[in-house]
Symmetry: C2
Subunit: 329 residues, 2 copies
DNA sequence: CTGAAAGCGCTAACAA
DNA sequence: TTGTTAGCGCTTTCAG
């Protein structure tokens, strides 16, 4: 059933029906007539027909690298909360860590189909940048800071610095690092820099042999821990760029009877649910993921309303959460 | 730029352009002309205009109760994997455990906007059922079994039965249960029935005082564990309807020095990542969440293709994963 | 193989 | 307030 059939059924004109659904002027009689017919028929206007006229889709494209990650799903939850309150739906693209799909989705969203885009990417290539600057819909990047674009990000450097400093202040002398892909500026590069800053400030020289790069997984953390802890110079603390990596390290320590925090302190980032229930509860840095999602959505919302081209960067702070894994002395 | 402007730019007719994008007949010359113009202009056809004619949105609505749950995100990942391979995008609605939003989203999807719907709900009311039978687009329910509708579900009863039996076979005599909301047929009712079946079969009478209902959270598991373990009749094993609940129980045991599995065996359901790294690794039942998502998507796909009205129910089996928390003798 | 033209269902300008 | 009507950008007959 379309609007004119429905109008006939209701005994009113098409414009009356259109006005009913668009807060237009309408007398109470007509309104009642329409509501009665609505009850009878269950008519609903077609979104696409509306979109073709108004150019408004009430859809926001969300591009993310994976779904089954605690941090990403928290961000998405924040996004969803704010946008759905404003009547937007999420058009979700899970790129499964495939850069190409990030590009094709951006391409897909570039022209039409959505009113705005939120991008949660880990690595930005030149292709990303080129495409992003050609976007014709408002776009916000969450979780990374990219000059010249709207971003909501975390203070990754500060988070890593504080966590490392915490362990150093407790007397650690041989700090080690297990980080993430350095092409990922936030979780990779900045967290490494934070670690290095704290170490250097403590008057210790950063030893490249004490630094490993892992994948975002427990297994990878386990492997890197084995590498670091079976060398001759043994670390007395390990800063891990994510809680997942830290959990892997802990697994290894458990199997090899390395006592935590006695022999080795461990610190992570992300304050995941898992960290709290590990066999030694994990000290970590709480990052405000859900808030990042909310703020990203708010930024997008105001961008969509104003249509302005001012770029803004919002950096969220962090909280140190100390648990047993660093509780020495 | 619209199709006719673009056609002019390319020096071909509107229909040629349309055919280019729709695998229609087209000579190589025109094809080349169009591709050249595409390069120049970056033109992309409008989805809504296409939809208004073809009635095809290439969108699937996915309704879920929350995002930040390991099981749900794994299901969603499976859905996304299959559907995106077929060129569909996901229109995601996070109802935040609000039944009303489930209803309004179903309502929203009922008529148009999406080509199909996948529903991950925990509780079905009469309103759900009424709305579901009025859906005009193919719909599949994942994670629950609802008579008369397309479902992909788990063998929740069997999973609970096997986990409980495992503990009973190891000599447990005073089994306890911490379950979920009984209105949730899968995670609530069926898992309870599975527990009861195993207990009864072992010649033990199910003691209602040994059964508690928790929320889907660690904290709630902790509280219920306190209740069960501070009574005078102390359980020697607890079957928990979810790993999260089990993690809470374990927290309590750790604080009160109850030894696992010596004093108490614990079994969960879901085989979450967390279970593996708990201070006592948790025995659990692996449910094939990602597969459930994939199969749900496949079912929807074939439903959308055939337009048939045959209802199918697919039940996936489970795997027991035994870890330390039940390793006795 | 090609192009002209008739809609798809809706909104909004315009005239009443 | 109301109703009529001209498009929005596209697909798809239909006649060539």
């Amino acid at each position: 059933m379309n609007i004119s059939e429905f109008a006939k059924e209701a005994g009113v004109s098409v414009s009356a029906v259109s006005r009913y659904f668009n807060d237009g002027y309408l007398s109470d009689d007509k309104r009642a007539l329409i509501e009665a017919a609505l009850e009878r028929t269950g008519y609903m206007p077609s979104y696409s027909a509306r979109t073709i006229r108004t150019k408004v889709t009430k859809l926001v494209g969300v591009i993310l690298p994976k779904l089954s990650s605690e941090s990403i799903s928290r961000v998405t939850e924040g996004i969803s909360e704010v946008l759905s309150a404003e009547g937007f739906e999420l058009l979700l693209v899970n790129t499964a860590n495939d850069y190409k799909r990030e590009i094709t989705s951006l391409e897909l969203f570039r022209q039409n189909r959505v009113d705005g885009v939120i991008l949660l990417a880990s690595v930005f290539t030149d292709t990303h940048r080129a495409l992003l600057s050609k976007m014709r819909v408002p776009t916000v990047i969450v979780g990374q800071q990219l000059k010249g674009f709207n971003c909501v990000c975390h203070n990754d450097l500060g988070a890593a610095y504080s966590m490392t400093k915490l362990m150093l202040d407790k007397g650690a002398k041989r700090p080690a690092f297990i980080g993430a892909n350095q092409d990922d500026v936030a979780a990779g590069r900045d967290r490494r820099r934070g670690f290095e800053k704290a170490v250097t400030e403590a008057g210790i020289t950063v030893d490249p042999k004490m630094c490993e790069i892992a994948k975002f997984s427990m297994d990878s953390g386990y492997e890197k821990a084995k590498l670091l802890l079976s060398g001759r110079k043994k670390p007395d603390c390990i800063f891990c760029a994510t809680d997942n990596i830290a959990a892997g390290v802990m697994q290894y320590c458990r199997e090899t009877d390395i006592s935590i925090p006695g022999d080795l302190m461990i610190g992570g980032v992300g304050d995941s649910r898992m960290g709290k229930v590990l066999y030694v509860p994990l000290s970590s840095v709480h990052l405000h993921y859900k808030t990042a999602g909310r703020e990203g959505a708010n930024m997008l919302l105001s961008e969509m309303k104003s249509g302005s081209e001012v770029h803004r960067i919002l950096q969220l702070e962090y909280d140190i959460v100390e648990r047993e894994s660093t509780k020495r002395g």
